[in-house]
Amino acid sequence: MSAFSAVKILPSPPITARSTPKPSFPFVFSSPSSPTAGGIHRPAAAPLSSSPRPLRAVSSHVLSNEQRVASHSHQDEAEVTREEALDLYEDMVLGRSFEDMCAQMYYRGKMFGFVHLYNGQEAVSTGFIRLLQPGDSVVSTYRDHVHALSKGVPARAVMAELFGRTTGCCRGQGGSMHMFSAPHNLIGGFAFIGEGIPVATGVAFSSRYRHEVLEEASPSGGLDVTVAFFGDGTCNNGQFFECLNMAQLWKLPIVFVVENNLWAIGMSHLRATSDPVIWKKGPAFGMPGVHVDGMDVLKVRAVAKEAIERARRGEGPTLVECETYRFRGHSLADPDELRNPDEKAHYAARDPILALKKHIIEHDLANESDLKGIEKKIDDVIEDAVEFADASPLPPRSQLLENVFADPKGFGIGPDGKYRCEDPKFTEGTAQV
């Protein structure tokens, strides 16, 4: 029994009074107090919590002959204009090319440590982030390069950060797992899984606070939205559940996006999770839960649009589970031996970039040469980013102590009665603090 056969949804799920009745509302939203709350999630044929089928080490149902269930969002809904489609295409190609270049640079010894690449998951980042307005925020995990790029952080800044140069978006102090950009409202980049979710909840809280207490109007016309990205492994972490509770309790303008790529390093999602269906954990807290095909950028975008607008209107959070896959290992240090090659082949065939390309060509939104042009443009951007990063200086010694405290008086008062930060050696980075 696979995780996703449970996603067989009844054709017309009852929508409670709390949700805005909309004919195309794709979200499953059941009131926690409703006696049929469990019923919504039952597949038409068999009850959900039926006799447990033997779990296999391999996670995906795709290797069985079971029918894959269509995502609840309408497949035909994916109407995009030419500009939108090309923007999506460009963003995904940027993400893919950047990550491929990262791998190259890593093996050439230009960047070190833990580098987690996003190949294969581009549809999620592009699908969500390209819909956001400048005042909206993104909070990510260690797999954050592409989130940064989609949010608008220049490729140069990200590459320089990875090279540990002072021109990086975090002055070389953060690295691969700590991408931050205040002008783009990208708030991390977190190395420990789950720890970004409370931060995202706080960002969403501040959005509501600014609106209600400080009475500042956002240019977006509603509340500034926060999108929190995290993986399947994080969904077993306490912080996830605590924040689902608080976000729904206070109707915070946040979208929780689960990038379920079925694997947490070498731990299959099925082996780690008692109930592997993540999206239905949303309704358990009173918020809508949606499942979407994370390899299809248009489907992701349709769901994202709804979730973001819900949050902006002040209706509260949504939990979106994106079924996706990472083509590479967990990190560049991961030998990736546990995943079945057939599973990888299956998802490689569902490459989101190829899928969008196919869609664009079939719907006559652009032709091959347009797309080739975009790819060439991106190649240039990436090359330029590498050159820039290579040419950038390493941080000098004087930078060492600069950002430990926002107010460097926090280093204290030295024996001579002066603040440590007033010591000339402090700016050289050699002060004894």
């Binding site: 931060v199 960002v203 959005s207 600014r210 306490g238 608080m246 206070w250 926090g410 024996p415």
Partner: protein, 406 residues
């Protein structure tokens, strides 16, 4: 039993000043012990100004005892004195309220801070005044609401996160260490975290091991964090305000047994410097460094010591991270003998770091090894007698000073 004496009654202070008082900021003010010449005693938080009359003026500083003794003068003329009297928890609230009035971005988060008014009533009445969003009652999820505070701080709010007991903040250690401490740095300075994390800690009265934790030292290594401990209503309000105004993440340690201390504090706006230590009792012979509740044990011991002819200098270090090496250093240079008295455990405690810092910086000025009196490395027992022996008591302090001054 000495212990009973100093823990039994709420410590009280009353103000009684001589006529030629300048603008003063003062801590507790008490009658001198019988052995002295009946002078009125006042302690300055900075030890710089002298007020009133005293036969033992030393460089213009007056001697002070923080422990309540019978203050004959307290009954008279408190009304004409400047300032107003309040208890420590009220001082905290006053500081918080003033900052919330001053800056609408200051908000409070924690368990039972809103409708309940705070488990120690520090936030009483604030929810009614400022609303449920500004004084946020959180569910019981320390790690997550502390992280929420961090997230809100990155976007410009100035949250004050209350741990109902500082021990509960162990659950938030991830967020405090990783995010409060590090986020400013890993973001290359792009985001600041002007958060204040506060709450009562320390050993109370038979509250059991988990509610009686002395965990200042657990946080002290976290880079990017500042830590202060308040001990009087005056510095409680001052430190609260300074912490809120600071752009750095600050952990403000309060003590369960000090909330009912009464003191007269100024009406005008003031803050206490976060990085400075407080001169409690100037002296010449030995430097006693302490903080939070142990200040009162030290002052109790100081009474005895003074009677025996010793002259201890008592400094409330207040800033646990970073240490005020200037005030401490000046004292060491004067007395050449150091005793550290803390409520922390011996192993890895604040005293251990302080000792190292003093040795590193002032080794040549020391005439004797630095003595450090810390609490026992045991979980705080429930039984009253065992609990008493866990902590440093005034008699031990007296003995240590005598040993140091041999």
């Amino acid at each position: 039993m000495a212990a009973a004496l100093q823990t039994a009654a709420p410590l009280r202070a009353s103000s009684n000043l001589g006529a030629n008082s300048e603008r003063f900021r003062f801590g507790s003010l008490l009658r001198s012990p019988a052995g002295r010449k009946g002078s009125l005693l006042v302690v300055k938080s900075d030890g710089r100004h002298s007020v009133g009359f005293n036969t033992r003026l030393r460089g213009g500083n007056l001697i002070a005892n923080a422990v309540a003794a019978k203050s004959e003068a307290s009954a008279k003329s408190t009304d004409s004195k400047p300032g107003h009297e309040l208890l420590l928890f009220e001082a905290l609230r006053e500081g918080l309220e003033e900052e919330m009035d001053r800056d609408p971005r200051v908000c409070v988060m924690g368990e039972d801070v809103g409708h309940y008014g705070g488990s120690y009533k520090v936030t009483k009445g604030l929810a009614t005044k400022y609303g449920d969003l500004r004084v946020l009652d959180t569910p019981i999820a320390e790690n997550s609401f502390t992280g929420m505070g961090v997230g809100a701080a990155t976007m410009g709010l100035r949250p004050v996160v209350e741990g109902m007991n500082m021990g509960f903040l162990l659950l938030a250690f991830n967020q405090i260490s990783n995010n409060c401490g590090m986020l400013h740095y890993t973001s290359g300075g792009q985001f600041t975290i002007p958060i204040v994390i506060r709450g009562p800690g320390g050993v109370g009265r038979q509250l059991g091991a988990e509610h009686s934790q002395r965990l200042e030292s657990y946080f002290q290594s976290i880079p990017g964090l500042q830590m202060v401990a308040c001990s009087t209503p005056y510095n409680a309000k001052g430190l609260m305000k300074a912490a809120i105004r600071s752009e750095n993440p600050v952990v403000l340690f309060e003590h369960v047994l000090l909330y009912n201390l009464k003191e007269r504090i100024p009406d005008e706006d003031y803050i206490c410097c976060l990085e400075e230590a407080e001169m409690v009792r100037p002296g010449e012979q030995v430097t006693i460094l302490t903080y939070s509740r142990m200040r009162y044990h030290v002052m109790q011991a100081a009474k005895t010591l003074v009677n025996k002819g010793y002259d201890p200098e008592v400094i409330d270090i207040r800033s646990l991270k970073p240490f005020d090496l200037y005030t401490i250093g000046n004292s060491v240079k004067k007395t050449h003998r150091v005793l550290i008295v803390e409520e922390c455990m011996r192993t890895g405690g604040i005293g251990a770091s302080l000792r190292a810092a003093i040795i590193d910086n002032f080794w040549d000025y020391l005439d004797a090894p630095i003595l450090c009196l810390s609490s026992q490395d045991v979980p705080t027992p429930y039984a009253g007698s065992l609990e008493e022996w866990t902590l440093v008591q005034p008699a031990q302090i007296v003995a240590a000073v005598e040993q140091l001054c041999q």
